[in-house]
């Protein structure tokens, strides 16, 4: 197991390097230097030249990349010229909030989706199943910003149940925790979209498992329906969900961009969005790399978790 994890981490490092390189090249295509973004459109050529020289943007791309990687190895993700902070500090400040938002949405959606999927599978092709399936499909087919907008319009502006935007005073995770109303809408929006896809998977996974003989055997033992579902079906049906959840781990830190933008919640997603506007190279790079690492890590965690939950799988 340990060996497996180490080997997977090695692959993760390679993939991450690849991600960094591709991003680096992409940004270079976008603009070889962020100087105009930093100094403004009216920047004097002399200032532009000096700035490029000062920040190393006059060197060949690959040299820049190697320096960058070297710095990363020393834990230095660079400096945001626009936000006057080191990228590490920015991420430290923003990641907790993103993690809280996505994490609670994830937990909420799992709490809803798992029982819902099983219930649908058990009563498949009933009116209820059709209704939930249709609803899921609608949510699933909806651009997330559209859903968020509708919720804001009705729940916040028209009926005033929740605040339309997250208050600026909530700058810490703890603050978000103590003001649940503030974060209700973003969490609900995010969760609704997750529920739509999770419960679809859960439903089909539960259906697959319901067709298995072990369910029949459990019934043949004389177990009640509820006991069959909770003691036998649940765990097995959840196995594929572990992978799915693992894949959504990147969102925990990377944050859900559109939701954060929509609800004025300054997490990493919003940071990235702002950085895009400013062409804030180092923030963009760090975000993409963090996303890549999390993707790989999410996969790894999912694999390990599946191996823990599923005795059939041994990692070696």
């Amino acid at each position: 197991m340990i060996g497996f994890v180490i080997r997977r981490l090695a692959v993760a490092v390679l993939v991450t390097l690849g991600i960094a390189l591709v991003t680096f090249l992409l940004l270079h295509i976008l603009s070889p230097s962020p100087v105009y973004a930093v100094l403004g459109a009216k920047a004097e050529p002399a200032a532009v030249k000096a700035w490029n020289l000062q920040h190393g943007y006059d060197r060949p791309v690959l040299a820049q990349f190697l320096t960058y990687i070297g710095n990363i190895i020393h834990g230095d993700f660079g400096y945001s010229y626009k936000l006057s902070q080191s990228v590490t500090a920015l991420f430290r400040e923003h990641s907790g909030r993103s993690a809280y938002l996505s994490g609670s949405a994830l937990v909420l959606s799992l709490l809803i989706a798992l029982p819902l999927g099983i219930a649908q599978a058990v009563r498949r092709n009933s009116i209820g199943d059709y209704t939930v399936t249709s609803l899921n499909f609608i949510l699933y087919s909806m651009p997330s910003f559209f859903l968020g907008l509708i919720l804001i319009q009705f729940l916040a502006l028209d009926w005033g149940v929740f605040p339309p935007v997250v208050s600026d005073q909530i700058t810490t995770v703890w603050g978000a925790f103590t003001h649940p109303l503030q974060l209700t809408l973003p969490i609900v929006t995010l969760a609704a979209i997750n529920v739509a896809s999770f419960s679809r998977y859960m439903r089909s996974s539960a259906l697959d498992n319901l067709a298995q003989d072990y369910i029949r055997l459990a019934r043949a033992k004389g177990l009640s329906q509820r006991a069959v579902l909770t003691r036998h079906l649940l765990r097995n049906a959840c196995l594929p969900m572990i992978t799915l959840v693992g894949l959504s781990i990147p969102y925990l830190l990377a944050g859900n961009l559109l939701i954060e933008v929509l609800f004025n919640y300054s997490g990493i997603g919003l940071l990235f969005y702002t950085a895009l506007g400013n062409l804030d190279y180092n923030v963009l790079l760090a975000y993409v790399i963090a996303g890549g690492i999390l993707t790989v890590l999410g996969n790894l965690i999912a694999d390990v978790a599946v191996a823990v939950a599923d005795p059939r799988i041994r990692l070696g």
């Binding site: 603009s31 100087v35 930093v38 100094l39 200032a47 006057s84 400040e93 208050s167 004025n264 506007g277």
Partner: protein, 631 residues
Amino acid sequence: GSSSSSSSSSAGSASSSTSASANNANQSAASLGTVLYGQLPPAGTPQTGGTITQGQLTGQTPTYIFPIAPGSNSSSGTFSFLTELFMPLYGGPLGARPQVNYPMSAAAGPPVPSNGDKTYTVTLKSGLKWSNGTPITSKDVLFWYYLLRAAIKESPANWGQYVPGEFPMDVTSATAPNATTVVFNLDKAYNPGFFLNNQLQDTNGGAYPLPSTVWNVESANGPHVTDWTNPAVAKKIYDYLSKQGGAVASFATSPLWQDVSGPFKLKSFSATNSSYVLVPNPSYGGSPKPVFSQLDVNTYTGFTSELDALKSGSLDIMVGLDPSQLAEAPALKQQGIYVFGGPGWGWFGGIINFKDTTNHFDKVIAQPYVRQAIAYLTDQPGIIKGVYKGAAVTAYGPVPSAPISPYAPADATTPPYPYNPSSAVSLLKSHGWKVVPGGQTTCAKPGTGSGECGAGIPAGTPISFVWANQPQSVSTTGALESEALASEAKQAAGITITLQTKTFNFLTSNYNNQNPAASKYTNDWGVNNYGGLFMDFYPTQDGVFNPGGGFNMGDYNDPTANSLISQSVFGGDPNAVKNEASYLTKSLPVFFMPDADYLLAVSNKVGGPADGWTSMTQQQWFPQYWYVNKG
């Protein structure tokens, strides 16, 4: 003043029965010096104490606290923040008027020229104090001057408004004969208007006296040094201060920034989202002085979330509205929210790429009559009504019809080429073009004679070019006005304008012939409509329309314009800059578009004098004017 506002509305009615509603909303307020859209919040009755909440947008938040701000931190948020904490030598604007506002300036009056405009003497107000009680003296101005020189020596990028060869590097010597007098000796003569309104005053951060007895340190607990006139020492001090100036997390805690001269002191600053809290500085020597007890500046991701917050009551003052949000103004009024706005000081439109050889565009657009034809096709009044919902003013040259400036030429408000598609068509026809409305107009008579297309334009050449905008999600109006022009040009005159979307950064860095790295894009664009330019109070286009200018993105080059610009900068004639503007209006170096109003929304919870509100249309806000209303 009144003449300008009436001519503006006559420009509006020239073509169509537009602006009826816009006119109703527009407020003619001579004292405010501008045409105002909407309704200013009533003055109300001030109450002492209370908290006011103001919004700011992500990406435009303050990121720097040291008043020598580098170009990378030149956001309007940063400059407002700086003037809240530090008293500028020459502050402005005065209401909406692009002029120095002396009650809030450290200087008592304009710099006095002598020695054939080569020496300028600045006199400080007496009795001004730092918040630690020490007086503000001429030494503090020199301290700023030396640090500034050190900064620019290090890198020209270290000061946002630096233009090579100009202030402070053109100063041969600076002296402080007494505690309130500073003398700058320059290496050449400068126009006094230019020296005051473009060099010492600057919308991108001008001169500030700095606390020379507090900030004269080279490290956190280092000793106070006195020989900061020595460039090496100045450099060390600058290095330390500039590093601290960007350290967002310690803005509110660093002892350096506790000593201020402006109307406010910083109480807290969130490194997470740049929200901050200000409290009044009791030793502020300018006027007016704040009477409320706390200002909360909160950050929002966009206009929509800001407006949502305003509507839900968690925000009092919203800065910046999208014109599309104006439809809500009546509903907001019901809630006691006042929406108003006014045009900024600058010009907007599509920058022409005179080097784009695609379809011989460089040759075609070099012909003044072609630019004039396109100007004839631009329905500014219609665009103002449809796209800007009335919240813009016509602008036919580099100087807009509003706000009012002593430097605006008389003809700024008369369109030389008013909207008139048939004029465009006949102009083209008379120059040998086969005009096909709705189709593709082509050159039928090549040649350089009269009645022929012009030099370098072969037969069959179309008028067809790429017009690049910012995404509509970023600049709705930019995209829509371009669409209106493209539609009109095609329909009426067979001119093909292909619209494209590019990001702001892409437009400014790559559709920019001044950037050597962008040469591979030269033939990709015909027009770059990334927005426009806010100008210094002295509106010369130096650096914009003369060759080699940092902002001459399309390589406009006209000998007459060059000499007029030079006159504005170096000549002694107070009217030089007006002549310059008049010429550029006629010669069309860019396709001018309406000057958009900067819009604001204020809850009736707060009140204040008109000047405080109107100054906000220039994207500068002075909270000392505001107060919480009684009752």
